[in-house]
Amino acid sequence: MKFGIVVSEGPYTHQASDSAYNFAKAALENGHEVPRVFFYHDGVNVGTRLSIPPQDERNIQKQWSALAGEHNVDLVICIAAAQRRGLLDEKEATRQGKDANNIAEGFRISGLGQLIEMGIQTDRLITFGD
């Protein structure tokens, strides 16, 4: 079965991104597919490569990047939500005249259409938020 997952809150602050990760991992380990995870609202902040959690805490961004690499999960960050919150890739940074970008490996920035498309193309959609 194909699951679409929405992550609506930022890392560490809310448990949503941890729960979504645990759900996605369990789905993949049990023979399901997770073609895409869509990061919306503060969820876009999961995709920054600049976070430095304490040594004894999990690294939420790296967990997602690794899962995406292993299982070919499409990690999509909403462009509108990302712009408000300061999450940029190189192309967006250049286009907007910003001198830096902060997106992590395995994530890509795209439009809200990718969320609707995920809803259409998956069998079940689940949102982790607050």
Binding site: Y40, A80, G113, L115, I116, E117, G119, I120, L125, T127
Partner: protein, 136 residues
């Protein structure tokens, strides 16, 4: 279910302005309208506050996005389910909500109201008929 046509429900349970969920939900609805799905909006709990008329945000420096709801009819988003019990608990009646209309192209473009008042049981029934429920 018709081929590739799904019933999408956007659930609004939060008040506007205190948090961004209401505004960013509306952005999803606007983009989603281009996908020709069967779209409904649910307003219950504090979500009914999103539709209250007379919103004026001049004093807080935040954009008033409530007029956008009135434009959704042009995008064929015409089913706004609003829960009566949620209104009553909050001291509101249908008269406190903005008028949101659409032109029914199957009825000679007659102007019709988009807001459908439903009770809690009807809201539950409507939710149970959806293919995809997106909550904000």
């Amino acid at each position: 279910m018709e081929d590739n046509i799904k019933k999408f429900l956007y659930v609004n349970r939060k008040a506007p302005y205190g948090t961004i969920y209401a505004l960013e939900a509306l952005e999803v609805v606007l983009i989603g309208a281009a996908f020709d799905q069967d779209v409904s909006l649910a307003f219950l709990d504090d979500g009914v506050f999103q539709l209250v008329k007379g919103q004026n945000t001049d004093g807080i420096g935040v954009k008033n996005f409530s007029p956008t709801f009135r434009a959704l009819g042009d995008y064929e988003v015409t089913k706004f389910y609003v829960e009566k019990e949620s209104l009553e608990e909050r001291g509101l009646t249908a008269d406190d909500l903005q008028e949101i209309m659409y032109e029914d192209e199957d009825d000679d473009y007659a102007e019709k109201p988009s807001i459908r008042l439903v009770n809690r049981a009807e809201m539950a029934d409507m939710m149970a008929e959806q293919d995809v429920v997106l909550s904000f």
